[in-house]
């Protein structure tokens, strides 16, 4: 008891109290300075950087400054920093093995922020997920799909995958695959399609629509019909074009055929033909 009391008294000696006070002062000063620097950086950098880049920079600056003052405070309290550094080194290795994925995601995030293949608000497709980018964070990006689901995609996945950014360029082309019956006049079909594109106010005059026969299919002659429009009108243009094509073909008597098969009978074994309400008979000839 008396030993404990004497140790307590020793701890509470003036010198120790002064050390404690200095350490606390360093911590408080570090906290204050770190906050001031963070606020100043935010004001200066916000207009020059993306929100994610600004956030990363201010966080790094804050923790760096506070960390320096914390180390100084520990030194003031008499901790042997070399021992601390040694322990930190061992801890770092252990944490490193455990957090390989997180570290990879973090590094990937830095590359994403620097490379900027897309930004917040862009519409992207990655590994079958299509949606709008809500945020680009240190370890992952957050995407809202078009049917309003929240998806978290690790940055490592983003870096390793093919990413399609729909909202990068101002124009998009609507590509439709059409088929018309073999009996149709292909030049007339082209004229009708061109007229449909001309009448659609969302379709651009330039770049010109593309109308091209792509091949002779099993059941139809196939066309590629492509019309350019502004990116924001893509869905409306795609829908209205197909409606207009359907109407125009109907008005012009152009047939879009169903899949077809031709059946041929042989002379030795003719096809049976049943008349509605009649008897089974054989084909003559």
């Amino acid at each position: 008891m008396s030993e404990w009391a004497s140790q307590a008294v020793e701890l509470m000696s003036l010198e120790r109290l002064l050390d404690l006070a200095r350490a606390l002062a360093l911590l408080v000063a570090g906290f204050g300075i770190a906050r001031l620097v963070r606020a100043a950086l935010r004001r200066v950098m916000l207009s020059r950087l993306e929100p994610q880049q600004e956030q990363l920079l201010t966080r790094v600056a804050y923790y760096l400054i506070f960390g320096l003052f914390a180390v100084a405070a520990l030194h003031e309290l008499g901790f042997n920093l070399s021992v601390l550094l040694g322990a930190a080194g061992i801890l770092t290795v252990a944490i490193g093995f455990a957090s390989q994925t997180s570290a990879s995601n973090f590094i990937s995030g830095l590359f994403l922020i620097a490379e900027r293949p897309f930004g917040v608000g862009d519409s992207i497709r990655i590994e079958g997920i299509t949606g709008d980018v809500l945020s680009i964070d240190l370890l992952s990006i957050k995407v809202r799909t078009w049917d309003n689901l929240f998806v978290r995609i690790p940055n490592e996945t983003v870096i390793k995958s093919v990413v399609t950014t729909f909202s990068r360029f101002p124009l998009r082309r609507v590509d439709l695959a059409l088929g018309v019956a073999y009996k149709e006049d292909l030049r007339r079909v082209s004229e009708v399609l061109l007229e449909v594109a001309k009448k659609n106010p969302l379709g651009l005059v330039e770049p010109q629509p593309l109308i091209m026969v792509t091949g002779f299919g099993d059941s139809s002659i196939n066309f590629q019909y492509s019309v350019w429009g502004q990116r924001q009108n893509y869905v409306k243009l795609k829908h209205s074009l197909q409606v207009d094509v359907h109407e125009a073909f109907a008005a012009a008597g152009i047939e879009i055929p169903f899949p077809q098969r031709t059946l041929r009978g042989s002379d030795a074994d003719p096809l049976p033909v049943r008349l509605a309400g009649g008897e089974v008979g054989k084909r003559e000839g």
Partner: protein, 306 residues
């Protein structure tokens, strides 16, 4: 919604059933068909709109109806089909036509209290217009050409004595087009096809376009091919002749290197072809400084469309 007939018949008798000519000189009613028939070379003026008594105009292909309530203005408009017979001179229409709800487009604006006067104003497009000559035109080196092209017209309905604009719509909505060196770089414009008339005597009459004189100087040593011409229409002012035809300021494009770039200068005031024309008000936006370099010419897209 029911499509309205392509042209609205104009009144041929006065409000007392008398012949147009003599009646028009005596009648004070603004809405008297005879008055409007005789005076309406310029539809851009003020109109008194009584409560629950709508007014209707036919301006080119646009059929416009305006109705006033105690606390609201209701506007409806429809356009005739592009292939329909062109409408006659623009102006008020005596027949009330179908109910407002049957028009293709509607606008309804609320106010604490409505005053009785509105003003119709012609305007030009709110985007540059790209004109494609039906037959590409070539300007030899050191030569100059003066073309007349049609710039599509808009109509604005404004409250008299106020800057409040109720609607601002095209007489016929032109198609969109892209003007730029690639699909990644450029701007959205309106597209028109022009005969690029060089002879003023052969200028066709149109109530839905204003005539824009474009002077093109080829100051280079190579042939300048005009397949597309971008005219900065929002920077032009409108002028009206006594006959009710609309013209814009002239534009001078000078090409010094047969590329798509040209220096632009807007020739202020009414063009010399219609020097007595009245100024109808300033442009939608500030014109560029004289000598400003713009992308004015362009060849048709190729290569990226595969």
């Amino acid at each position: 919604m029911t499509r309205l007939p392509s042209t609205a018949p104009r009144a041929e008798v006065g409000c007392g059933g008398q012949p147009v000519g003599s009646h028009a000189e005596r009648c004070d009613r603004v809405q008297c068909p005879a008055v409007t028939a005789s005076r309406d070379k310029s539809w851009w003026r003020s109109y008194e709109v009584s409560l629950e008594e709508p007014l209707r105009w036919q301006i080119g292909p646009l059929d416009l109806k305006v109705e006033r309530g105690p606390q609201e203005w209701l506007l409806g408009w429809s356009r005739s089909d592009p292939g329909a017979e062109p409408a006659g001179p623009p102006g008020l229409v005596s027949e009330s036509g179908p109910p407002l709800e049957e028009y293709d487009e509607l606008a309804r604006l609320a106010f604490r209290e409505t005053s009785g006067s509105i003003r119709l104003r012609p305007l030009l497009a709110d985007r540059p217009v790209v004109s494609s000559p039906r037959l590409p035109l070539q300007v030899p080196p050191r030569e100059e050409a003066r073309l007349y092209i049609g710039s599509p017209l808009w109509v604005a309905v404004e409250l008299e004595g106020s800057e409040t604009r109720l609607i601002d719509v095209p007489l016929r909505r032109p198609s969109d087009t892209w003007f730029g060196p690639s699909t990644r770089e450029g701007e959205v414009c309106f597209a028109t096809t022009t005969k690029a008339i060089l002879n003023l005597d052969r200028l066709p009459e149109s109530w839905e376009h204003a005539t824009t004189p474009v002077r093109i100087s080829n100051e280079s040593d190579e042939l300048l091919l005009l397949e597309r011409l971008r005219v900065p229409v929002p920077s032009l002012s409108l002028f009206a002749t006594e006959a009710g035809r609309l013209w814009t300021e002239g534009v001078w494009l000078r090409s010094s290197d047969s590329t798509e770039m040209a220096s632009i200068e807007i020739e202020p005031g009414a063009p010399p072809e219609v020097s007595e024309a009245a100024d109808l008000g300033g442009p939608r936006c500030e014109p560029p400084a004289a000598g400003f370099i713009i992308r004015a010419f362009g060849s048709l897209f190729s290569g990226e469309n595969r």
